[in-house]
C-alpha cells in the first residue's frame, strides 16, 4: 500500500516535469505548426546551464532559484535565436523539412554541449530548503518531489491565465486556428511567433533546469525527453494544453506503476498507450482535426522518367560500382556495401513518403524487422544465410502489414507519430525481451554462408539485391499502381470517387516499402555479423529521413543520391572529426536553407527541369 502511494506520488512528479516540456512543445506547434525536434535540446541546455549557474553562484536560495530562472531565460533567448535565424525562413517549407532542420539543431547542440560540459554525467546540488523528506499520508516522501508535483498545476494555471486573460494569449489562440486571418487583421505574425517560441523555450529550459536536483545531467537527455514529450503532446492532442496535462499525468503514472506491474515492458508502455490513443482518437485525447481549409497547397510536380543525362549518370555509377570494388581494400568494401544497403533503405522510405505522401518517422522498424528476422533464425535455428535473407523481407512485410494497417489511416504529423510509436515498440521489444533477442547485447555470429564470406562477394550480393529491389520499386512508381497511389495522395476524394480504394492502395504501398526495407535490414545484419536494437532506433529512422530529404522527395532518383551523399558524408565526418555531429548539423541546416529541393532536385534545376 505504502509502496503504491510512493509510486503514485513520484508519478505525479514525473508528470509535472513531462508537462513542462510538453506544454512548450505543444504551444509552439499550435501556432507555428512546426514539430520542433530541438525542444529536447532546449531542455538539455536548461539542465546544463542551470547546473553551471547553480554551482557557480553563491549557495543559498538566491543562488539556486536565481540560477534556475536565469537558465530558463537564457534557453528562451537561444530559442528565439533558433526561430529568427532558422525557422522563420522555412515556415512555408514542407513539414518534414522543418523537422529535418530542427534535427540539425539537435546535432549541433549535442556537440556544443559536449564541448562545453564534457562527456561525463553531472550531478547537481540539492535545492536549498527542499533537501529532506516529509511524511505524506504516513509515508516518507522527498520534499523536492512534492514541490515538483505542485509545479505542474501551477504552470498550467499560469498558462491558462496567459492564454485566456491577456491580449497576447487571445492573439495566439486566434493564430492557432487561422494565422493568415490574424495577419490580415494587422497582427505581425512574425513577432507573435517569436514570442511564442520564447515562451515555449523558457518552459523547456525550466523543465530541464528543475531536474538537476533529481537526476544527473547528461548528453542523452535531449532525445529521451523529446521522445517522451512527443508522446505526451500527441496523446494529449497537438496544440492542446489541457490535453498535454492530462497526457502527462497518464504517462507519468503509467511509468510509475508500470515498473511495479510490468517491469519488463516499461519502455513499451508509453508507446503502446500512444498507439492505442491514436488508433481510437486519431487527433489525441483533446485535440481537434487540423483545419486545412485555408492552406493552398502547391500541386506536386509529377515524377518524370529519368532524363537521358540522368540515365547515363545512373548507368555510369552502376558501372563504377561493379568495376572498381575488386581493386579496393576491405574497409572501402564495407563502406560500399553499406552504401548499397542504405540506398535500398532510403528508396523504400521514399516510396511511402514521395508517391505515397505519408511521412514515416519509424521506418527503421522494418529495417530492424528484416535484420532480426534473419538473426533470430540464425540464433534459434542456426539457419543458413539464404534462409535468413528470405526471412528478412517476410518478417518486415509482416510488420508492415500490422503497423501499416493503423498508420495509413492517419495523415500528417499524427501518422508520422504513430509510425514513430510503432518503431519504438519494436525497438523496446528488441531491447527488453532479452531471452529472445539478447537485449542490448544483440545477436552475434550472423555471418554469411561460406561462399559469400569474402567482403567482395558479399558486396556484389548486396549490390545485386539492392539494385534489383530499387529497380522494382521504381517500376511500381511508374506502373498503374504508382499512379493510383499518387492520385490518392493528391486528391483523395476524387480518387475515392472514381472507385479507388485509397486505404488498400496505401496499405499495400506501406507493406511493399516495409518488405524492401527488410531486405536492406537482412543484408545489413549479415554484413555486420550482428544485430542490435539500435537498428530500429529513432536515429536510424532519422538517418533514412535525412537521406531521402537530402536527395529530394520529389524525384525518384533523390533517395539514391541522398543515400550516397549521406552515407559517404557521415563516414568521412566520423573519421575526420570528433565533432562530426556539429558538422553534420551545420551541413543539414545549410541544405535546408539553400537546397530545399534536395540534391537531385537541385541537379534537376541545373538540367532545366522543374
Amino acid at each position: 500500500m505504502e509502496n503504491l502511494l510512493v509510486q503514485g506520488l513520484s508519478g505525479l512528479a514525473t508528470a509535472s516535469s513531462l508537462f513542462l516540456v510538453a506544454s512548450g512543445l505543444t504551444v509552439i506547434f499550435g501556432v507555428t505548426r512546426i514539430v520542433n525536434f530541438a525542444h529536447g535540446s532546449l531542455y538539455m541546455l536548461g539542465a546544463y546551464l542551470s547546473w553551471t549557474l547553480v554551482t557557480q553562484l553563491p549557495r543559498g536560495h538566491l543562488g539556486f532559484w536565481g540560477g534556475v530562472a536565469l537558465a530558463a531565460l537564457i534557453v528562451g533567448v537561444v530559442g528565439v535565436l533558433i526561430e529568427v535565424l532558422l525557422l522563420r525562413r522555412i515556415y512555408k517549407a514542407p513539414e518534414l523539412f522543418q523537422l529535418l532542420a530542427t534535427f540539425g539543431v539537435v546535432l549541433i547542440v549535442q556537440d556544443v554541449a559536449l564541448l562545453i560540459w564534457g562527456p561525463q554525467d553531472l550531478l547537481g546540488p540539492r535545492a536549498p530548503g527542499l533537501r529532506g523528506a516529509t511524511m505524506v499520508l504516513g509515508v516518507r516522501f522527498p520534499l523536492y518531489e512534492l514541490f515538483l508535483i505542485a509545479v505542474g498545476p501551477v504552470v498550467l494555471a499560469l498558462l491558462w491565465l496567459l492564454f485566456n486573460r491577456t491580449r497576447w494569449g487571445t492573439l495566439v489562440r486566434a493564430a492557432t486556428a487561422d494565422r493568415e486571418m490574424v495577419g490580415a487583421l494587422g497582427v505581425n505574425q512574425r513577432a507573435l511567433f517569436t514570442t511564442v517560441f520564447f515562451l515555449g523555450s523558457v518552459l523547456a529550459g525550466l523543465g530541464g533546469a528543475l531536474q538537476i536536483p533529481r537526476e544527473s545531467v547528461n548528453l542523452q537527455m535531449d532525445l529521451v525527453v523529446i521522445v517522451e514529450a512527443f508522446v505526451v503532446v500527441v496523446v494529449g492532442g497537438l496544440g492542446s494544453l489541457p490535453g498535454a496535462f492530462l497526457a502527462a499525468l497518464l504517462i507519468g503514472e503509467l511509468q510509475a506503476f508500470g515498473i511495479l506491474i510490468f517491469p519488463r515492458i516499461t519502455l513499451v508502455l508509453a508507446f503502446l498507450v500512444m498507439a492505442v490513443v491514436l488508433v481510437i482518437r486519431p487527433h489525441g485525447l483533446l485535440g481537434r482535426a487540423p483545419s486545412t481549409a485555408h492552406a493552398a497547397a502547391a500541386p506536386e510536380p509529377p515524377y518524370l522518367p529519368a532524363s537521358p543525362w540522368r540515365r547515363w549518370a545512373g548507368l555510369g555509377l552502376l558501372l563504377l560500382a561493379v568495376i572498381v570494388p575488386p581493386f579496393l581494400g576491405d574497409y572501402a568494401l564495407i563502406v560500399f556495401t553499406e552504401i548499397a544497403i542504405m540506398m535500398l533503405f532510403a528508396a523504400s522510405l521514399h516510396f511511402i513518403m514521395g508517391p505515397g505522401g505519408m511521412a514515416s518517422f519509424g521506418h527503421a522498424a522494418y529495417f530492424g524487422f528484416g535484420a532480426y528476422g534473419a538473426a533470430l533464425l540464425v540464433r534459434h535455428f542456426a539457419a543458413p544465410m539464404e534462409l535468413g535473407l528470405l526471412a528478412a523481407p517476410f518478417m518486415a512485410g509482416l510488420g508492415g502489414l500490422v503497423f501499416g494497417f493503423f498508420c495509413v489511416r492517419l495523415s500528417g504529423v499524427y501518422a508520422a507519430m504513430l509510425t514513430l510509436a510503432f518503431a519504438q515498440i519494436a525497438w523496446s521489444t528488441a531491447f527488453q525481451w532479452v531471452e529472445m533477442t539478447g537485449g542490448d547485447n544483440g545477436i552475434l555470429g550472423v555471418w554469411p554462408s561460406a561462399w559469400a564470406q569474402s567482403k567482395l562477394v558479399f558486396y556484389y550480393l548486396s549490390l545485386a539485391l539492392c539494385v534489383g529491389a530499387v529497380m522494382l520499386l521504381r517500376r511500381a512508381i511508374f506502373a498503374p499502381f504508382g499512379y493510383a497511389l499518387r492520385a490518392g495522395r493528391d486528391s483523395p476524394l476524387r480518387a475515392e470517387a472514381i472507385g479507388m480504394d485509397g486505404f488498400r492502395i496505401r496499405w499495400f504501398a506501406f507493406i511493399l516499402a516495409a518488405v524492401a526495407a527488410g531486405i536492406a535490414g537482412g543484408l545489413f545484419a549479415y554484413s555486420k555479423g550482428s544485430v542490435f536494437p539500435t537498428y530500429m532506433s529513432i536515429s536510424r529512422s532519422v538517418d533514412g529521413l535525412l537521406m531521402v530529404l537530402l536527395g529530394g522527395v520529389k524525384t525518384v532518383s533523390g533517395p539514391i543520391a541522398g543515400a550516397l551523399a549521406y552515407t559517404w558524408l557521415h563516414e568521412q565526418l566520423m573519421r575526420a572529426f570528433d565533432l562530426w555531429r556539429l558538422f553534420l548539423g551545420i551541413i543539414i541546416l545549410a541544405l535546408v536553407l539553400f537546397f530545399p529541393q534536395g540534391l537531385a532536385g537541385a541537379l534537376g534545376r541545373r538540367e532545366g527541369r522543374s
Binding site: T170, R173, A177, D178, G183, A184, L185, Q189, H294, A298
Partner: protein, 233 residues
C-alpha cells in the same frame, strides 16, 4: 483612396487576374460585381496581400502597397472581411473583436466593442458566446465588427450577403450605409445585384479576371445588355 492599376495574379500557373484596374474615391461604396469565379475574391486577396500580385500597382492613399504583407496593409488602414468569414470559432465574440483591435486612426472615431454592438445589437446579447456557436448571419456581423475594430479607412467586403436570409441582408445594407455615412470607403464584392444596388455608388464588373464594365450603379441598372452579358447566369 484606392487605386488599382493593371493588377495580375496567379494561383500556381493559373493566370487568374489579367489586368484589373479600378479606383475607389474617399467615402465611396464601389461594387465589384461578376459571376462566380470571375475573380472578385482574388482581387480582394491581392489588394490585401494575401495573394502576392505578379505585377501591377495597388495604391492606397498615394502609397504603392503591392507586395507588402497583409499585416502591414491592414495597419495602413485597409480592413478585409473574407467571403468565408473565418471567425475564430473557439474564441468568444468579445475575443474575436479583440483580435481585430488596432490603435485609433487620425480623423476617425475609434471603434470599440460597444460601438460594434450598437451597430449590430444582436451581437451585444452574446458577448461570451464562442464564434463557432453562432448563426451564419451573426457570424457575418461579427466578422465585419472584427474588421471595424482595426479602424480601417477602406473596407473590403467579400460577398457579405452570401447565404443570408432576406431580413438579415436588409440589416446588412443598413449597416453598410451607416459606415458610409461615417466616411468609410467600401469595396463590396457581390453577386446579389439587388443588394449591391441598395448601397453602392458605382460598380465595376469583372469577367475572366478583368474589368469589362464600369460606371454608376444607376447606369448599370439601365444597361440591360451589360447585365445580361456579365451578370445573369
Amino acid at each position: 483612396m484606392l487605386d488599382v492599376t493593371d493588377l495580375h495574379a496567379h494561383y500556381g500557373r493559373a493566370h487568374i487576374l489579367q489586368g484589373v484596374t479600378l479606383r475607389a474615391g474617399e467615402g465611396e461604396v464601389l461594387a465589384l460585381l461578376g459571376r462566380n469565379g470571375a475573380g472578385k475574391s482574388t482581387t480582394m486577396k491581392s489588394i490585401m496581400g494575401l495573394l502576392r500580385p505578379t505585377s501591377g500597382a495597388v495604391r492606397f492613399r498615394g502609397e504603392d502597397i503591392a507586395g507588402r504583407e497583409p499585416f502591414e496593409i491592414a495597419r495602413r488602414g485597409i480592413g478585409y472581411v473574407p467571403e468565408e468569414r473565418r471567425i475564430f470559432t473557439e474564441l468568444s465574440v468579445l475575443e474575436n473583436l479583440e483580435v481585430g483591435r488596432m490603435p485609433a486612426r487620425e480623423g476617425l472615431a475609434p471603434w470599440t466593442a460597444e460601438r460594434v454592438f450598437a451597430l449590430f445589437p444582436s451581437l451585444g446579447a452574446m458577448r461570451k458566446r464562442p464564434g463557432g456557436r453562432m448563426s451564419g448571419g451573426e457570424q457575418q456581423m461579427l466578422t465585419i465588427g472584427r474588421t471595424l475594430m482595426g479602424n480601417p479607412r477602406l473596407i473590403l467586403l467579400d460577398e457579405p450577403s452570401e447565404g443570408l436570409a432576406p431580413v438579415i441582408i436588409e440589416r446588412m445594407a443598413e449597416a453598410i450605409l451607416a459606415l458610409k455615412r461615417e466616411g468609410l470607403t467600401v469595396l463590396l464584392s457581390e453577386q446579389n445585384l439587388h443588394f449591391a444596388r441598395l448601397v453602392s455608388d458605382r460598380a465595376c464588373v469583372l469577367e475572366k479576371g478583368a474589368i469589362r464594365w464600369e460606371g454608376r450603379m444607376e447606369a448599370l441598372m439601365a444597361d440591360e445588355a451589360a447585365r445580361a452579358q456579365y451578370l445573369t447566369v
